[in-house]
């Protein structure tokens, strides 16, 4: 085999890899790839009362209640943006999905559709179950916490998707309502995800029970910040590593004007 042929084979091989990745990306438009790798997820969260003091600011070591989990995370694709009203409508029409308990389901919709002009806003008033139904229909699933955080934070432990410096102009973190997804391109995370901070809280695949309560972890923060008391669940700007406990109770309370979601998909 002469050199020319080796060069040609090499070029053919690399081109096919490129085409495979390109084709994968084409199969998953609006998704970005997060490559595989070991990842140490450091999370912090606020502990409420009971036996421990409310470490709402810092614990005695100067940090919020925290833990670190190191895992090998396989490669996955993640939605570039939060799932929109438009996308959710497509899902409903295609699947005919009707939740078993419809209290507050898509409360912001009227006449079976989203408010005019809000097509590109993240869908809200959907429960974890509603989000799972969408993800399944789309051939996707909800992100695990570690996947969500890796997509938001990459591996450099940054506090915000765009870096370590807080910047209120890079996300919708304290306003009167949702914005169209992708309104803050400068707030993108390293892999290209948008609105990982602000806009709406995002469901993760973390539903669990402690034997007494059902809960899951919300990520990302939303546009809403309850003002006036330290006793409120902390809203407003939420860092990449902050998890927020959501107690699941009634269907009506499980759906909120401030909680939406995005999906992931395995990359093989």
């Amino acid at each position: 085999m002469n050199n020319n042929r080796r060069i040609v084979s090499f070029m053919a091989l690399s081109f096919s890899f490129f085409m495979a990745a390109f084709v994968c990306a084409q199969d998953n438009p609006d998704m970005v790839l997060v490559p595989a790798g070991k990842y140490a997820m450091h999370v912090e969260y606020r502990v409420r009362e009971g036996l421990s003091l409310d470490s709402m600011v810092v614990d005695d070591r100067g940090r919020r209640y925290s833990m670190t989990e190191a895992e090998y995370v396989s490669a996955f694709f993640i939605d570039r943006t939060e799932v929109t009203n438009e996308q959710f409508k497509t899902f409903l029409e295609a699947s005919g999905y009707k939740p078993e308990r419809p209290e507050n389901f898509l409360r912001h919709w009227q006449g079976g559709t989203y408010p005019k002009g809000k097509g590109r806003h993240p869908v809200v008033w959907v429960s974890l179950e509603d989000a799972k139904a969408y993800a399944e229909w789309a051939g996707k699933r909800l992100p695990e916490e570690i996947e969500w955080q890796k997509a938001a934070q990459d591996t450099d432990s940054r506090a915000w998707p765009w870096g370590n410096l807080f910047d209120p102009d890079k996300a919708n973190m304290d306003s009167r309502g949702t914005m169209p997804v992708g309104s803050y391109p400068e707030g993108a995370s390293p892999c290209g995800c948008l609105d990982m901070a602000g806009n709406v809280w995002e469901w993760t695949d973390s539903f669990q029970s402690d034997g007494y309560h059902y809960f899951s972890w919300l990520r990302g923060g939303s546009y809403f910040l309850a003002k006036g008391s330290r006793w409120y669940m902390q809203g407003g700007p939420i860092s990449t590593y902050q998890r927020t406990k959501f107690w699941h109770m009634t269907p009506a309370l499980n759906r909120c004007a401030t909680i939406g979601f995005r999906c992931v998909k395995d990359a093989d």
């Binding site: 309560h213 309850a226 006036g228 008391s229 669940m233």
Partner: protein
């Protein structure tokens, strides 16, 4: 501890009423009069006297009360004691007196009293202070002592410019009082805000309401002399708070005054008395209650609410109350479990919002709509609780202001009406607005206000229930909650949410006769009550409910006298019953273990009364000794708590072979006779048989007795214990 306990209770219950002070009401006494020796212009001594007491005051650079003589007995206190007050602008040099050698005396006659006013100033130009002390005597032994201090350093008075003066002050008479033998002297002193101690907080503390509220009198008494003197400080800018008695006796105060400033330094009542600190406490109780508005306590609902003693804090996200499979509140199962574990709840406090509030813009009022069935569903749940005689309270969060609502009170009232709530719990608050009360009244006058924090006196006029969440104070025995004793109308509940050991908290509830809150799901963190505490609560619950007629008396007495140094007893008397919860500290501190057995208390009840220990299920023997009824523990008390109930004899129980014949001397309407046995491991009562209120016959075989072979025959009327006879049918013979 030995000496301390002797300090705490000396007089039998029947003598606690202050014969000494009784003379100040009712009977017409000769008015008080004053005599000057030799005359008012050249005073050396002033005699202020009335029919019961004679005070001798001498003026010699200071003012001294040289004697306070009880006319009835001739006993004189205060002789040989230092002056009332010492005021200096220089640092103390062996207590050297800079001299107030110039003084004038004036007299004022009131309608029923006389006042002597002594104004002192100094010949030294450097001392610009002018001290005015006035003494007012009415018809009783109480001497009102008022002190004003003026910084008269104005231009021309002193050879220097007018200046701000800081004086150092002590009250030697009060602080260095000598009253009989020093080892038998004890001090009731304020310590740290709203606490009071006898000699030292390490030994014993009482607690009251709020730092800003009136303080108990300072009382110095001698247990050997059986006499004391209290100093009731009505008003003073000085801070009276001491670490312990040594801090009290050596305390120094300071006062800074600008030129020309006059300060009302002290408005005090001095009163010699018989007995111990109870005299000061009773005087204070009367003083506090006389200025208190009881309007809201007189509402019928308050009487009903006052009987609600054991409650549950219900975090609605927990699966003990919320069933996710059926999306409903499993209220019946929940209440069943409450009865099984804790003896049942009198009310439950629902908690539907915090800490979930803030994730979206639904506030506390909006979130009700999200509960199963919304407000209507909650109303059904409440109705189901009501059918089981369980009240339901809803919370109010004043801090939930994110929506900027201006109508919080109306919203809360709307919710209360929609669900049929029996009360509002004021989260993080210890007081409330009249506007809130009015908004609730517009909906129903049967909704009570309960605060998380202990209200101060003014707030307590409207907030008729509160939590006792005072950490070490509540979770420690034998601490006495004076607020509860001064205001038995107010519904106090013990709670210590993070406690890992609650037995002292539960004993404290039984001992002080207060309520208890069961709270295991603390906003998502579980702090379970272990099995032994659940047993204690079930036992406490039975006792406080079956004896609430006595426990809710309008005249509870803290720490009555008893015959032992290591036993602390409170008394809750009504006409035909008295409950004496007792705590045996000696069992814990007594080294090899002091035994609580034999005679322990003298009482003044009629001869035909029964006495039983409700906690340990032991019959108490009453023996007549020297004309007094002495109560005796026949068997050693095998616990740190006991709880004696004293009731008129009604039941007559006779064993005839294998039968028990039970009769009542006086039938009670609607009464029944409960025959219970006792579980040996838990000491809980087990209901075996129920008979007619007039009596009956019990086959002992039917009771299936085993150890400890106790049969409790209880005459019950409307859930209240009217009489009890305890039979020990085993091999023990006392």
């Amino acid at each position: 501890m030995h000496l301390l306990k002797k300090a705490l209770g000396m007089l039998p219950l029947s003598v606690i009423s202050l014969a000494f002070l009784a003379g100040s009401h009712g009977t017409a006494l000769a008015a008080s009069k004053v005599t000057y020796i030799p005359d008012i212009k050249n005073v050396q001594e002033i005699i202020l006297e009335n029919e019961v007491i004679r005070y001798a005051i001498s003026v010699d650079k200071s003012v001294w009360i040289t004697s306070a003589m009880e006319k009835a007995t001739g006993i004189s206190l205060l002789a040989g004691n230092p002056p009332l007050m010492f005021l200096s602008i220089r640092s103390f040099q062996n207590g050297a007196d800079v001299g107030y050698n110039l003084f004038t005396v004036k007299e004022e006659k009131g309608a029923e009293d006389v006042t002597v006013r002594i104004t002192q100033s100094s010949g030294y130009v450097e001392n610009p202070l002018v001290v005015t002390q006035s003494f007012t005597l009415g018809q009783g032994p109480l001497l009102a002592w008022n002190v004003k201090v003026l910084n008269s350093a104005t231009g021309g008075r002193a050879y220097r410019q007018p200046q701000t003066v800081t004086s150092r002050i002590t009250f030697p008479l009060m602080q260095k009082l000598k009253l009989g033998s020093e080892t038998e002297m004890h001090y009731l002193i304020p310590t740290g805000g709203d606490f009071f101690c006898i000699d030292s907080p390490r030994d014993f503390i009482f607690y009251f309401t709020d730092e800003s509220d009136p303080k108990l009198p300072i009382d110095i008494y001698n247990t050997e002399l059986k006499r004391g003197i209290y100093f009731h400080i009505i008003k003073s800018p000085l801070r009276f708070s001491f670490a312990d008695k040594n801090d009290f006796t050596s305390g120094v105060f300071s006062l800074t005054q600008k030129p020309g400033e006059e300060t009302g330094l002290l408005d005090c009542r001095i009163c010699p008395h018989e007995g111990d600190w109870h005299a000061a406490y009773s005087a204070f109780r009367e003083y506090i209650r006389s200025g208190f508005d009881f309007t809201y306590y007189k509402r019928p609902i308050q009487t009903a609410y006052r009987e609600r003693l054991v409650s549950h804090f219900t975090f609605l996200y927990g699966h003990d109350i919320y069933d996710p499979a059926t999306d409903r509140f499993r209220i019946d199962e929940f209440l069943d479990e409450g009865e099984l574990n804790f003896g049942g709840y009198d009310y439950m406090l629902l908690w539907h919002d915090y800490p979930r509030t803030g994730l979206d813009d639904r506030d506390q009022f909006d979130m009700y709509e999200g509960l199963p069935g919304g407000l209507e569903g909650l109303r059904e749940m409440v109705a189901r609780a009501h059918a089981r005689n369980v009240q339901v309270f809803i919370p109010y969060k004043p801090w939930d202001i994110m929506k900027g609502r201006k109508d919080h009170f109306q919203q809360e009232a709307r919710i209360a009406k929609a669900v049929g709530a029996d009360g509002i719990f004021l989260d993080t608050m210890s007081e409330s607005d009249r506007a809130f009360r009015d908004a609730l009244d517009a909906v129903s006058r049967d909704i009570v206000l309960v605060a998380e924090g202990r209200p101060d006196l003014e707030a307590a006029q409207m907030v008729t229930g509160s939590w006792n969440q005072r950490g070490n104070a509540t979770n420690r025995m034998p601490n006495v909650d004076l607020f509860r004793f001064i205001f038995p109308e107010h519904n106090v509940h013990n709670i210590n949410r993070g406690a890992r050991k609650r037995d002292e908290l539960i004993y404290n509830a039984l001992f002080n006769g207060v309520g208890f809150i069961v709270w295991e799901d603390i906003f998502g963190e579980i702090n379970r009550f272990p099995w032994n505490e659940r047993i204690l609560i079930r036992r406490y619950s039975r006792i406080i409910h079956e004896n609430r007629d006595a426990y809710l008396t309008g005249n509870p007495v803290p720490l009555v006298a008893d015959l032992r140094d290591d036993l602390y007893v409170n008394a809750f008397p009504v006409d035909n019953k008295c409950v004496y919860p007792a705590y045996h500290l000696g069992r814990i501190t007594g080294g090899s273990g002091e035994r609580l057995i034999g005679p322990f208390m003298e009482v003044g009840h009629p001869d035909n009364w029964h006495y039983v220990d409700l906690w340990n299920h032991q019959a108490i023997r009453a023996e007549k000794r020297n004309g007094k009824t002495t109560l005796v523990f026949p068997e050693e008390v095998a616990d740190v708590m006991s709880c004696i109930a004293a009731m008129p004899e009604n039941l007559k129980v006779e064993r005839q072979g294998e039968l028990l014949r039970i009769e009542t001397a006086k039938p009670l309407e609607g009464a029944s006779i409960q025959v219970n046995t006792v579980d040996n491991l838990t000491m809980m009562e087990e209901e075996a048989l129920k008979l007619e209120g007039t009596g009956g016959v019990v086959q002992l075989d039917n009771l299936k007795l085993d150890f400890p072979y106790l049969v409790l025959v209880k005459l019950m009327q409307g859930g209240i214990l009217k009489d009890e006879v305890i039979l020990d049918l085993g091999w023990k013979r006392f």
